[in-house]
Subunit: 335 residues, 2 copies
């Protein structure tokens, strides 16, 4: 069963576990600091298929195939897949996963979707609703640019606060027997809106959501940031990470020593021209399913927080001059 | 706890219950056969706000406010809201619900989203992850036409198989103490793709998904269609409903006597010029949260199946000539 403590942190009594994980990324991500840790790489933007969108679907498909293989669980034994992406109507997930025949529950939390999907998988496994559940998300630089910004062919100039959408996917198989890491507790985010409207500065829009969820979790659990080996945020990038540290400092918390951001880990900002860092549903998913869970498997990390943030805008709402509401979901993952 | 039976039907041992429900619709829906049963009506397409999208957000907001009032549960006591809509990045839900401060988990299952959200709410309440959970979805004719088809100003001609997107929202409050109806069991849908590509005939695309989920549920539970007072489908409309009946007949089941479709219930096809019937996330949500739950509350219905179907296409995938994968989630709701 799941126990609710404090304002609403979920504590998993049986601690659903990661039985397998895998990541598939594009060439630029493979050239970055984590390059050797990914399971598969596609070397051109289409990965041998006709459209960027199909390529993104293939990333998810491959991540699931690989995570299933590593976990020793067959697709036929999976009771549920929780998935999402940034494309309109979560199309990458649908076309990527339709072949598996696994009951499907589409999730949308923008770049927070990996944490949301993992949280769902943990709730389903803990409650008995699923024996094996899969969580997977993706993003693709080219499909995201086309949908959210400009067709690549325009060659438009990026602002310094802009982030670079990661081409990648990460997937996990969750069940009660997994040996890699356990999901101990979680906090569902609230929609946070500090009235930021600059769609080229999503880190700033998302940092308050991360701050809100983290503060609630620390209060509910009576823990301090230092109690965790590392606090990983999803894709705040350079600008958002600084804002998060500043916001937390106002509440008396210093996370600068044990905070890292997946958007800063995946690229080398000095040489890879990604401005404020990586972003996208596939950013924290592929970093979680390579470096972070890898370090947990190797025993280098024993107790972490994984906080994925999402900017809940659409091109329609941006064009209508609306603000960028954000959200952050948190998982406490232990060895 | 949740028990899994057969291939994967979820049986809720404590039977999470509907504590309150409400629907808000547009003028055309209010003029239809169920007109008197809705809680609120907006009489012009914008409902007094600036854009169709904002009007859709307002539908969700009002549905939640009203459902909370009727259930006697305060927003502050809600642990989770599961919501979704047809707009890109589920924008209607985000802007409609951001003011409540309820932890938010965005769902995307196209027109199946109401069943998916209710299923999630039931799993969260049953497992202890939430004491009170809210499920709400919406659609709006004008925002949907603009996004999926043509701006209304074009005055384009609709095909006979086309459906009319319902302007409406429906919301439910789920907890363990609700008196209106109980969620006894549920089945999560699989992505079904019979390679239909006509986006003006979504009933045909969705019927096989409804058939697949229903057949699995009947097999898992050892029940027959006649065991239920009524089998409600979401928005198959006239064409999809006929196909569903034909498909089930091939498996030896006759549901013609106790089947109804929310897309056929909400409009009068003779006089309201909606072609094959109503559709959209708000269609089955507003019919469930008016006529169906009302009849359960009054004791007229005691044991029903609610099967909401979704066509998982986007304009991008449609323009790329891809097929329309579909899904259907099922709930068994009892008095």
């Amino acid at each position: 069963m799941i126990k609710r403590i404090g304002e609403g942190t979920l504590v998993f009594e049986n601690k659903p576990a990661v039985a397998g994980y895998a990541s598939v990324v594009g060439k630029k991500e493979a050239d970055g600091p984590l390059g050797k840790l990914f399971d598969k790489v596609i070397y051109d933007s289409r990965g041998g298929v006709e459209t960027y969108e199909d390529a993104e679907s293939a990333l998810q498909r491959e991540a699931v195939i690989c995570a299933l293989e590593k976990s020793g669980v067959r697709a036929a034994d999976c009771d549920c897949v929780f998935a999402g992406d940034l494309l309109n109507q979560c199309a990458a997930s649908v076309f990527g996963l339709s072949g598996f025949g696994i009951p499907y529950l589409g999730q949308y939390g923008a770049c927070s979707t990996m944490a949301q999907s993992l949280l769902m998988a943990a709730v389903f496994v803990e409650s008995g609703a699923a024996k094996n559940a899969v969580a997977v998300t993706s993003s693709h630089f080219c499909s995201a640019e086309r949908q959210y910004r400009f067709p690549l062919e325009y060659g438009s100039v990026r602002t310094p606060t802009a982030q670079w959408t990661v081409t990648g996917a990460g997937g996990c198989v969750i069940n009660n027997g997994g040996k890699i890491a356990k999901i101990a507790s979680a906090a569902v985010g609230k929609i946070t809106d500090l009235k930021i409207t600059d769609a080229n500065n999503m880190g700033a829009a998302m940092a308050p959501a991360a701050c809100d969820t983290l503060l609630r979790f620390l209060k509910d659990t009576g823990t301090k940031p230092q109690d965790y080996d590392c606090i990983f945020t999803g894709d705040l990038g350079l600008v958002g990470s600084r804002i998060l540290c500043d916001l937390l400092a106002q509440s008396g918390y210093d996370i600068r020593k044990n905070h890292n951001d997946c958007g800063l880990m995946i690229f080398d900002r000095e040489t890879q021209d990604v401005h404020a860092g990586g972003s996208g549903c596939g950013c924290c998913a592929s970093v979680l399913c390579s470096k972070i869970l890898g370090d947990m498997e190797r025993g280098k990390l024993k107790n972490i927080l994984f906080i994925a943030t999402g900017a809940l805008l659409s091109t329609t709402t941006a064009q209508q001059g609306k603000t960028i509401p954000s959200i952050a979901h948190l998982l406490n993952i232990i060895r």
